[in-house]
Symmetry: C2
Subunit: 340 residues, 2 copies
């Protein structure tokens, strides 16, 4: 039975190897892969945090990407939603469709990348679905755990709060732009895993600041949080709308990724990437002024930058070097626009 053989390979490669961060606090896995469904027994005093994410060929990745990167980033993108709630990753379910020619070595390399992400983020595979199809489609559901009432929502920002981001802005979009240029020049060559060039790394192997999210939640530091999946301008608009507040962002403070001179000459603008580039997966969060001293300058090597403030009213404003304000339109990625 070929389907069952593929499931066996998935289980062998990523099913039983995720180390558990904290055995005592974790829910018990009663039954994993192999039955109609998985069974988990939650522990008392914990909330469960759940999110689903698609990673689709030609939308979230190209067929030409190294399979390791597709596997790694599919899971990293999904776990980012747990980070944005400040939840501990626990389990995931993987549904994957595959063309026949991708069920051999390609699948093994894909699973190696996903296994690497499952170890990095302490996620255990507990179920899923496989089917043959013309396109590679990956659907992942992640399940995390947070102490009751500690998960951080989007809707808790208040006027007067300070606004922070983790990491660089635009790094993933810069990597994507580089990949597209390489494709055009016909010199598409990728490095795999740790040999991946730095300029491509946040796009192909995104680093998710999951521990920072947990720190901000468990320390009751942040009042609202969202992950930067679609770009600062779009995700900040979402946070502000959910919280029914406005926001001001200071252009000079944006931790924009440095754009190499040849690329800048080719039209890539660091500020545009920082404001509208998607898939950085940094955290965008707000902190009441009285708790601002508890925000570190960096966390596990990831810089944290105060980029603005929450204000009364609605809408997001960008404050330029000259002090002038202009409206910041939500111009990040929307899959239902024709941008990509």
């Amino acid at each position: 039975m070929i389907e069952d053989q593929i499931i066996d390979r998935i289980v062998k490669r990523i099913g039983r190897q995720a180390p558990r961060r904290s055995r005592r606090a974790s829910p018990d896995l009663i039954l994993g892969i192999g039955d109609d469904a998985a069974i988990v027994r939650p522990r008392a005093g914990a909330d469960w945090v759940l999110s689903s994410d698609f990673s689709l060929e030609d939308v979230h990745f190209r067929r030409s990407y190294p399979p390791e990167a597709i596997g790694y980033r599919s899971l990293a993108r999904a776990v980012s939603d747990l980070g944005a709630m400040g939840a501990h990753p626990e389990f995931f379910l993987l549904s994957i469709s595959l063309p026949s020619e991708r069920t051999g070595p390609w699948l093994d390399r894909f699973l190696a990348g996903m296994a690497s992400a499952s170890r990095r983020y302490s996620l255990q595979l507990i179920g899923g679905d496989t089917t043959r199809w013309a396109k590679v489609a990956i659907a992942i559901t992640v399940i995390g755990r947070a102490a009751c009432h500690r998960a951080i929502r989007r809707d808790g920002a208040r006027a007067g709060d300070r606004l922070y981001v983790s990491g660089q802005l635009g790094a993933a979009a810069l990597g994507l732009a580089v990949l597209r240029q390489k494709k055009r020049t016909g010199s598409m060559r990728f490095a795999v895993g740790s040999r991946c060039p730095k300029i491509l790394r946040q796009h192909l192997y995104p680093a998710i600041p999951i521990e920072l999210g947990i720190h901000l939640a468990e320390g009751k530091i942040a009042s609202a949080m969202i992950d930067l999946s679609d770009g600062l301008s779009t995700d900040l608009a979402r946070l502000a709308r959910a919280s029914r507040v406005g926001a001001r962002v200071f252009l000079d403070r944006l931790p924009a990724v440095p754009v190499p001179a040849p690329l800048a000459r080719g039209g890539l603008d660091a500020i545009d990437l920082a404001l509208n580039g998607g898939e950085d997966y940094g955290l965008l969060f707000t902190v009441p002024a009285r708790r601002a001293a508890r925000v570190p300058g960096s966390f596990r090597g990831v810089p944290i930058t105060c980029i603005g403030e929450i204000v009364p009213g609605r809408g997001v404003k960008l404050v330029g070097s000259d002090g002038r304000e202009r409206r910041l339109a939500a111009a990040g990625w929307d899959p239902f626009r024709q941008k990509r």
Copy 2:
């Protein structure tokens, strides 16, 4: 923001309307759709049961199907895995990719069908993902609840147990065959919802015996259970392999769907449909002989039939009318074979 508008439509149509079967026993929904992730607070004394399912264009449905049926059956197929564990359905996450031309009335009709299934099976939508894509791909994760240690696995069958199925065998495969013939003759016309002809109903709007599964679990009646998703021959082989036992099926006892004479003359064989037709979504379960008296002849109008027995050893045998045994090969649906 068009993506956010689509999410709003999904929420409006199916997000907040599933009636809760039993408020006291249910986990509390702390935060539903609209944030990075959903938050649920499980109650003590319950296990959580989780399963994911793909429904993909050209694999699980055709583009020409009524959108109501695609929405209904996508969710029904997923909930069947909860039924097979004897779990109460609670929540689901819906990820859906859509071509642009399907984001209008098509999506509304799809959501109406899915809303109908969510009401029927008491499932509440708590999250998901949407994206634009050339193909309609639906990935659903369902979450159910079972009293601790009561969920029924595949691996509990023992030699001497009796073997039962619920419902008719081959009904969904017969409907699929009819649809294919109609397509060939160019007279493809579908009825929607309750106006759907009976012969197409189990394929387009599958009835899932979720209450029977719960009854068999909570009454501690069944020793092992699986849903008939890929066909009796394949699913029984899975149950027997997981339980490390063999099985004997009596040909004369199979509750095979009646095949109308014109279709039978065209080559459709009731026994082949009963043994190898997929997607019936009845329950296949085993019961120790001492508890056999507690198995009803029907449950909420669904017939229950004893079709065989569990025996020592390995492999599945089919016993003919003449008493002769032959090996029953697993010839149901496997997405990685080229059958469909």
